[in-house]
Symmetry: C2
């Protein structure tokens, strides 16, 4: 019983020595398998990102965006890039620094957003996402909250995060 495995390996080694072509083929097969397993793993990772619950991503983005807006508007700068566009009450602004300059210069110091609805949809093959928000905006010192609607077109970054490519904001006057 103890001899048998050793004999088995001896036979295999003998075969490998006498069949160098077979050895090379086996090595090649192993390399191919490794390559495809890596390929599949990468694909799997991408699939996982695409299958992430979009509603959860949208909700997390909205929470992050408005809490940052209410606590430290300048902190929004890393959510935008140079190609980003904001249309704020009809005024068009492009680029992260211009957008943050606009947001930080709004004529109020303190505000509090309350979100009423968040809807989201995938926006096409580039992996983007549309987020549509409605809610109330309470300015400090004002009695009544302002109703607003806002839409974001989020685009994926190479770091598997998102940045705001399009942003359109409107107050809903009564």
């Amino acid at each position: 019983m103890q001899k048998s495995p050793s004999l088995f390996y001896d036979i295999i080694l003998l075969h490998l020595h006498t069949h160098k072509t077979l050895l090379l083929l086996l090595l090649l097969l192993l390399l191919l398998l490794l390559f495809f397993s890596r390929f599949k793993a990468t694909g799997g990772g991408k699939r996982q990102a695409a299958e992430m619950d979009p509603d959860a991503v949208a909700k997390a983005f909205v929470d992050h965006y408005y809490s940052t807006f209410d606590a430290n508007r300048a902190g929004l700068s890393n959510l935008y890039q140079d190609s980003s566009m904001l249309t704020f009450e009809g005024q068009k602004i492009q680029g992260s620094s211009n957008i943050v300059a606009k947001l930080t210069s709004l004529p109020f110091q303190q505000c509090k957003h309350s979100i009423t609805t968040v809807d989201c949809q995938p926006s096409g093959p580039a992996g983007g996402m549309l987020v549509f928000v409605s809610g109330n905006l309470q300015l400090s010192g004002e009695q009544h909250a302002l109703k607003f609607s806002q839409m974001f077109h989020l685009m994926p970054t190479p770091q598997s995060s998102f940045y705001v490519f399009n942003d359109i904001f409107r107050l809903n006057y009564a």
Copy 2:
């Protein structure tokens, strides 16, 4: 003077008969020129479409969409495709026929949209456009109009038109 052109053509024809390779090359050159002039014309057409005033396109779309909605909701079907998505008051619907089935089954017969604001932005390299609308919706028999916000992601068709890829609708309750 009359003989000269005839002689000229005779010489040319003689040349063409004796230089069949040259004739073939000339034909090939002509075909290449034709091909590239068509190619350039198409490119020019695309450039022209991209340079069209986006605000004017958005305004024309919005006029067409809501006048069709108010006159004949079933007529909206050719603005959507199978990949189109509608989120209507939080309910997600996909595909032209499902979307039109939803819109035609809304619990009112007559309505009139009045548009308050239209904002638009280009949505990325695929030639799409985001259109953000706010306005009032008057249902027949109702005293007060309902306020709504709606966003469309329009995508270009091969026929240089647009279809609605994303559509999110929300009423803005008081």
